[in-house]
Amino acid sequence: GAGVSQTPSNKVTEKGKYVELRCDPISGHTALYWYRQSLGQGPEFLIYFQGTGAADDSGLPNDRFFAVRPEGSVSTLKIQRTERGDSAVYLCASSLASGGGQETQYFGPGTRLLVL
């Protein structure tokens, strides 16, 4: 596809369960970002990948959150032992590179996570 895709579009789970959120970036984009957006707020940075490696994971709120990008393309955000406070829209973005003026980010539609 032409844009960033995210699956599922909506996820409802129960407190304590494990969830995985998937992001397919634009083909050829080496940089991939995960954000979390709560109602009425701007996106909050979680983690940034350059290729397969996490270049900056300082935004992950605690060790229940983990993300991988094993082949430098698709990424999965994993949340263990979900809590009600994890409910938010999880956004993924990709860019061609992370420097040299190629940082324009393209966002996916997001995954709306609701923890009951």
Binding site: Y35, E44, E103, P109
Partner: protein
């Protein structure tokens, strides 16, 4: 970390009006982007503008990096311009992209 402040927080205008949205940031930046989030939640990149001025149709943006602010101009507003406008910056001291809280724009027909 770097702080990003956007003003005004809310703006209501009649169709056809012009508007200026402001983004102030607290440290030097490697890049700055303006986004529009439509009522369905989709974020669309408007400008990548770490410095200088760019124009795209009815929209233009100016970043004065030395004074740590950026302005987004919307001329001849249309109802489809409604939504939230975000400024996002990457500070020179780390790789994070930090978003402001946004300006919520509502254009009345």
């Amino acid at each position: 970390g770097i702080q990003v402040e956007q003003s005004p927080p809310d703006l209501i205008l009649q169709e056809g009006a012009n508007s200026t949205l402001r983004c102030n940031f607290s440290d030097s930046v490697n890049n700055l982007q303006w986004f529009h989030q439509n009522p369905w939640g989709q974020l669309i990149n408007l400008f990548y503008i770490p410095s200088g001025t760019k124009q795209n149709g009815r929209l233009s943006a100016t970043t004065v990096a030395t004074e740590r602010y950026s302005l987004l101009y919307i001329s001849s507003s249309q109802t489809t311009d409604s939504g939230v406008y975000f400024c996002a910056v990457e500070g020179v001291r780390d790789d994070k992209i930090i978003f402001g809280k946004g300006t919520r724009l509502h254009i009345l027909p």
